[in-house]
Symmetry: C4
């Protein structure tokens, strides 16, 4: 079973999600700066969710470079990931339009957490299929960032009720953590060529 | 005629449909749990429709692995399938927003039924093209799940007026039936390699 | 310059247009048959526009099977076609929601006419590039259906003000004309193989 | 690392953006010519933004023809470009619905300017990766149009407050400048073949 169509479908869904996000930026009435002001939190949330989806696409792209075999279980593990990603626009809209209130801030963490879990399941499934000595297993063996992210989401969800700003800080820190270039896959690809 | 572009177009349409569904989950006003309550039936219907579209994509992917030849009639049989799938977001939205009322529950079954019929037409057309001894013909010869599904939809449409919960039960059972891994195509692909 | 990316982009835009159409089928309030009645003209217009976009995708697919070379002018001729196709959802929505009034019926013909002209330009440009003895030139030399369609749109636009039903009839006849399988390209592909 | 998936994802996002634009052309109530009148500025802005996105897709297509290698930094430079392009529908809707007021006209220039800067970053990154003697470096060395465009956007943003028509003129002139065929890449591809 070839991975081409799984990649194409995933690219399609992620491309649509990343552009549907922007539909929450509704065109305001009036043409003054004041009319734009209520859009500021919506815009900031948009940027955060855009970065998260970009990170997922990027990591998906990297991980599948080292994948040679897939099966039916991988298709479903991937669809499970896409399900949680598909809730990002809703969570983004709710947090943005409520000016970062406690409950929407907390709930924004739920699809983040579930997508991270779905990612881990997909990753484990792929490693099992490629075999223990495979490039994928070696490249992803420590999973340090994955565990930090899960811990941060688990903290951010309840702490939003103490102060939403703690959760915002955690969401931003995790995003920055992933923006720092992750050389594991590229290093491995380079070594393979030698 | 190559199947690549048919697969790409189908992936595109399905990727869009599966993400358009989520637009029915409209961002509520207010930031309390109470504001989310009316969304519960919408969300449950969303999950069901997401699973149905995921099943169709998965089965499409599997079936076309065994397809070597297509022609103009396959393009139209495939577009006919996409037409009925394209009505899923509408049927989903109507059932979800009306809290599973009798008529919307009944009508939800219509695109399900028509898509199942369109699928059968596409499958028969492809088997005819590949020839009677082909892998596709052998892999799909019994069609047991297909007949169960058609029967369930035909029951669910009128029984919604007796009690919508019967129809919901049938819709969920059919979805679960297809989620159970279908090994026919994968078994065949594995045998072919031997 | 390879045609792969032009095909992929075109498939993407057409897949989105064909699914955006369905957004005009807005979920009605209320869960009675009466709530669905105003949607009947919207639904019929949806079916018509779906068929038109499906025909364009189908013909695009067929035509590009015989294309070996493209250049920058083909990219723009193709984008010009996509521009007019992108107005289908608007024209569809306006005609459907106004119950087939005279002006919306007339205006529905404008993107149809312009897309047909854009198609002709793209076709001529491609034939010129492939050369006079090419398979594309031979397969498409008569262009009978193209001329009939242009004439029908040119009649339908003014005649909507006499009686919109004349225009509806013309739009449906042209669609049916193209649904009848067009064997020119397939015949040519089959001959080439001999 | 192969460029195929980056191209496919970019095509997906651009295809969606170019079709989401048309959602701002909301179906008017009433079926008279008068009901269409308020849509005229929305339509004109739509045409302008469609052309800009088409130019970006076209240039992206051309540039990547000469690209042999990409890395993680290219993925992010490309996502950065897509971020600014994703704001086109919002900027288009705001300018169109406010009948070309001063502030929306000025702000329309911001994503144009930022996308042009993001384009330049992507271009420089790609040239650095392909090496100084590469075809890409030679084909794009002067960058005349890129500098003219940046200057025009930098002028259009403040001058909208003097008279929005100056900015509209600048936006249209830059678009026309890019519509004039740019033979640099095609010339280079032709030479390479010799």
């Amino acid at each position: 079973m070839s991975k081409g169509r799984l990649e194409a479908f995933t690219d399609g869904v992620m491309a649509i999600l990343i552009t549907i996000l922007v539909l929450e930026l509704r065109v305001p009435e009036g043409n003054t700066l004041g009319a734009l002001r209520p859009l500021v939190p919506v815009f900031l949330t948009y940027v955060l969710s855009f970065v998260y989806l970009a990170i997922y696409w990027n990591n998906h792209h990297h991980m599948f470079q080292l994948v040679d075999r897939i099966d039916g279980s991988v298709l479903w593990a991937n669809l499970h990931l896409l399900f949680w990603l598909s809730l990002f626009p809703f969570a983004t809209g709710w947090m943005g339009e409520n000016h970062f209130g406690a409950l929407p801030t907390s709930l924004y963490g739920v699809p983040l957490l579930m997508a991270a879990i779905a990612w881990t399941i997909l990753e484990r499934r792929l490693i099992a299929l490629q075999g223990p000595g495979s490039g994928l297993a070696e490249a992803l063996e420590d999973g340090f960032k994955e565990w930090i992210s899960l811990a941060a989401y688990l903290l951010a969800i309840p702490l939003a009720f103490v102060d939403p700003r703690i959760s915002h800080g955690l969401y931003v820190i995790v995003a920055l953590l992933w923006l720092v270039p992750d050389r594991r896959v590229e290093t491995h690809l380079a070594e393979r060529r030698v």
